[in-house]
Structure formats: C-alpha cells, structure tokens
Symmetry: C2
Subunit: 325 residues, 2 copies
C-alpha cells in the first residue's frame, strides 16, 4: 500500500513514523506547501511541492492529509478526494455534516474512497460511544479528556501580551470521574468535569498578575473552568513541557433487566505520550481500510463507523480469529 | 426485526429483557427442548417446542441461540443456520475454527447470515484487541477477568463430595494490573494475574479441611492460582451471592516514534452487575447487524470483526455522526 503525506507538521511526522511500523505500507513522499528544498524528512523520504500533487495520482494508493481542521481540511480533503483515496482527522464537530457532504460528493463522483474524522476523538472514542450505545440502549455517556496538552488553549495563552510561551494541560476532575465510574450518573457542569493547568513563560517586566487575570477570564477557553496559572522559566518549559501527551476516557453507564436493576459500566481509556504520533497511527490503519474498501468498489465518504474492524488489521481473518477473538 | 430465542436459561431471559430496550425488535417466541407447558416466560411471550422450530422459518428474522458452548452450540448453530439467520455466543476458543467452518458451510449454502462468538469475551473484548493491535502494531496485550462469578469454576466445586453449593469469583491481582497500566509490560504467570475466591456451603458433617484441599489442588481450575476457600451458610449464599456479576479489562501497551520512545496505554473495561443480561444485550445488537447484512446479500459465517459498527446501531448514519462522532 503506497501512502503519501499531505502536510508535514507534527501529525505528518507521526504518519512517517507509523508507516515504518506497518510492513504492508510504504511511504511514497511528503507534499508540502512550503519550499520542498527547505523541508527535511526524518526518514529521508522525498519532499514534493503541493502544487505538483496531481502528477502523482498513479503512484499513490492513499493520501493522508495532515492539515488543520479550521481552514486546511475543509478545502484540502474535498479537493484531493477527486484524485486520490484520502484519510483526514477533521475534528470540528459542528461542521462534520458539511465536510462529510463535500467530501462525499467529490469522492463518489470520482470512484474514490475517503475516510474523515479519524484519530482518537473523533475516532476511537467515537467508536467506543457507538459500540457502548448499541449494546446498552438505556444509559448515559461521559467523555473526559486529559491529562494532556491542548494546543488550542496553549495558543490562546500565547496570544496574550507579555506571554513568551505557554503550555495548557486539560485535567479530568478525579472526584467527578469516580462518581461516573461508580455508576452514579451525575449531571456534571463544564467546571465539574475538567480543570485547566497553565504553565506560562512571561516576557521580562511583564505584569504577571494581569496575564493571570486575562487567562482566567478568557471566555470559552478558561472562564468556565477552575484554572491555575504557574509562571515558569524558559528552561523549565523546555525541560518539563516539550512533549505533547494526551488521553482521556469514554464511559457509558447503563442498566438492563426488570426496572433497570442491573447496572453496567463500560469504559475506554487512552494514556498517550504523544498525541500526534498516536493519532497518526490511527490514520495509517484507516488508510489500509480505505485502500481495501476502494478495491471492493466502496466509494464516497466514510467514517470509522462504516469500517468493518477486520479491514483495519494487518492480520488475515484466520489469524485474527485465532489470536484476537 | 422479528427475533426468536432458542434455549431459555439465564442468557435467554437476558435476551428477552434486552429486546424490550430495542424499539426496532420484537420477540416472536422462545423455543425450548423442555416441555413448553412447563416453561413460563418473564414477559409472557409464547413458548414453543424446539422440535417445531422449522414451522416458523417465515416468522423469524434472526434466531438468537442461547445454548452452552461445550455441547449445545456446536450442534445447534450449524443446524439452525440452514434455516435461519443466527447469532450465538460460542466461547470455546480452541474450537472456533471448526465451529466457524461448520456454521459457514450451512449458512452460505442456504443464503443465511450467521454471527458467532458474540458477547463480551469473545465479543467486545475481541474488538478491543483488534482495534488496539491495528493502531499500535508494536506492543503487548493483556486481558484480566473479574471481579466476577465463573460458572465453570463454581460447577467444578459443586461436584466435590460434601459440597452443597458453591460460588467462585475470579479476581484480577491489583499489583499486576497497576504494572500493566503503568506501561511496564511485565511477563505475568497465571498465578500473578488472577486469584480465585471460593464461597462454599458444606453438607452437615462434611470434612471441610478435605473439601478445601480438594479445591485448592484441583488441576487446571485452581492448582495454578492463589485460591481462598470460605465456608458460609446457605442463608449467606442466598443473601450475598445470588447475582452473576462479572467484568474485566483488555489493555494494550504499545510504543511509537523513533526507538519506540513514546509509550501509549489503551484500556477497555467492563463492570457488569449481570453477566448474562449484558451478554444478551450484545447478542441483540448483533442480531440487528445480521438482519441488515442478510438483506444486503452478505451470507455465511461472520464474527464482530466483520461487522461495520454502524450496523449494530439503532441510529441513522446522520444521527450517529451528529451524536456520537
């Protein structure tokens, strides 16, 4: 399976690493909107200009699009799905119906297969919610994120005057989590589910009290949360906050039997050292499924909900049943 | 979707309860090998003799077969798959290839769809292992069971002379579990993973020391485990051990990136008040998928590995993407 990467940031580098763990895949190259001569890949695979991508339609089985959901993917994925089988990690929840429709139109008309919103949330967490809801129709869903770095929240802090660098960790509230795990089905406000830990490097002479206040009062991002702000040095930032860990969990708490007398708690959780590398690993497994579905004549836009799990696996059906069933 | 139950024990009663939680399903009836007049269903659905099952082929969309894996299902499922779409919970791991082949032959030749080995292990745990292995090709799998009642181990104790009743709980060793969750990838022996707690009602005048010794030395069942035996009264058994709770967890601990420097721990866990009711709930969701796949002309034997998750759900694809993605 010949894979190419479109967009070479953290996620693109993650795909490059993941391809090496999957012996049925090979990396054709990386496409970038930057000057290809200025981009050096970790494994030495060739870098091409994004402008030349249509010269390679015959050489690529699946294009993994590693762009941002805000402005890149809504344009890139429908455009590329006209010429390639594609996978993306589109995660702007409210805009999924539009994105799905645009990609479906492009892919179906050109006999390509596209899988959008792959990764872990959306992605594996979505699958967990779907399986849990299917087997426990009466119940309640909870999703907690963290402990992990939120890039969006870190960026929001960096935009404040006097801030040199920042890292924001989203942290589930342990007490709320325990109640959910115990099947108590609590109603939880935003504040009751997560706290936000901010580590900030201030510029020399900056007003730290003002920065802290601006963070804590920032609407949408921090105002609805219990937020802590800790000022650290640049050295501490480099030493202790260079990585991008993340994770979280999905829980469904349901009931069966007469009067719902039997309670059941189903949980799926992730603890990830590297958010982009794990997300990329999911994208590569999805690329395998996309290539297989396309060969079978299954065209148009799909999500992980439409993929038979066997299609994600390196193993043969017999091996799967023997080793994993 | 018209469902029938073949075999009316704990699992069959669980299916009866689960059908009531799924508005797109209705229960046609229960088939039993006992005298139908002697079997009273919880919800009043009709009971028929298993001998008459072929009179109902036109009335049933999916037959859920609720028999034991040791001697019932290897005969029942291939036989019934000639005439019905079927779902079973076959769980004798070593015999899956034979069972799969027998059921596949019967179902494929008669244009029926059969789904075997549904439930939670095999079933949801198998799915967890497959997804985890697909997205983390380099890593190690662990499965822990419990805390929960093992029917097979309880039965084994009941067969000892002087034992009136017994209940055996399988319990994961917390220390081993913590090591796995921490990503330490330990090599664990049978004894290091689970302990076995036995609650025994002895007959009057029975030699309790001898019973305890016979339990603890029983090969395969107890000899390889740290086993505790507690003698209790019949009243205590009724009061504290009447339910059939179970559960467990699947963990994959993997690595990505250069030299595998980033560790990832993925966990799926269940905490169930009623093993048979939860298993039955999975079987009913599988019946939905089987009916849909059969309408699409997908025949033969399948497992959950072959089922696109969307086919298990009551929701439309649009609702699913909106609510669960």
């Amino acid at each position: 399976m010949r894979i190419a990467i479109y967009g070479y940031g953290n996620l693109g580098r993650g795909v490059e690493a993941a391809v090496r763990q999957n012996p049925d895949t090979e990396l054709v190259g990386v496409f970038t909107r930057r000057d290809p001569a200025a981009v050096k890949t970790v494994t030495g695979v060739p870098v091409y200009s994004a402008d030349t991508v249509l010269d390679y339609t015959a050489d690529i089985d699946v294009m993994i699009i590693c762009g941002g959901s805000a402005s890149d993917l809504p344009v890139m994925t429908p455009k590329l799905a006209k010429y390639f089988n594609v996978v993306d990690s589109f995660d702007t929840h409210a805009k999924v119906p539009d994105h799905f429709a645009n990609v479906d139109k492009a892919a179906a008309a050109s006999a390509h297969t596209a899988l959008i919103s792959a990764g872990w949330d959306p992605g594996l967490f979505s699958l967990a919610r779907l399986y849990m809801n299917s087997v426990l129709p009466e119940g309640k869903d909870y999703t907690f994120w963290g402990r992990g770095v939120s890039q969006g929240h870190s960026d929001a802090i960096r935009r404040i005057a006097g801030v040199k660098d920042a890292r924001q960790y989203t942290v589930p509230v342990q007490d709320a989590l325990m109640k959910v795990r115990n099947g108590e089905n609590p109603d939880l406000s935003t504040r009751q589910k997560h706290t936000r830990e901010c580590y900030v490097v201030a510029e020399d002479g900056a007003d730290k009290a003002l920065i802290e206040q601006q963070i804590k009062e920032m609407p949408n991002y921090f105002a609805d949360y219990n937020t802590t702000v800790t000022f650290i040095t640049e050295e501490e930032m480099k030493k202790n906050h260079a990585e991008l860990p993340h994770g979280g969990l999905v829980i469904r708490s349901g009931a069966t039997g007469e009067g719902g007398k039997h309670k059941h708690v189903v949980e799926f959780s992730l603890k990830l050292d590297s958010n982009p590398e794990f997300t990329a690993s999911v994208l590569v497994a999805c690329a395998r499924a996309v290539a297989r579905m396309n060969k079978r004549g299954i065209y148009g836009c799909k999500t992980l909900f439409d993929v038979a799990p066997a299609d994600l696996s390196l193993l043969t059906p017999e091996e799967m049943r023997k080793k994993l069933l």
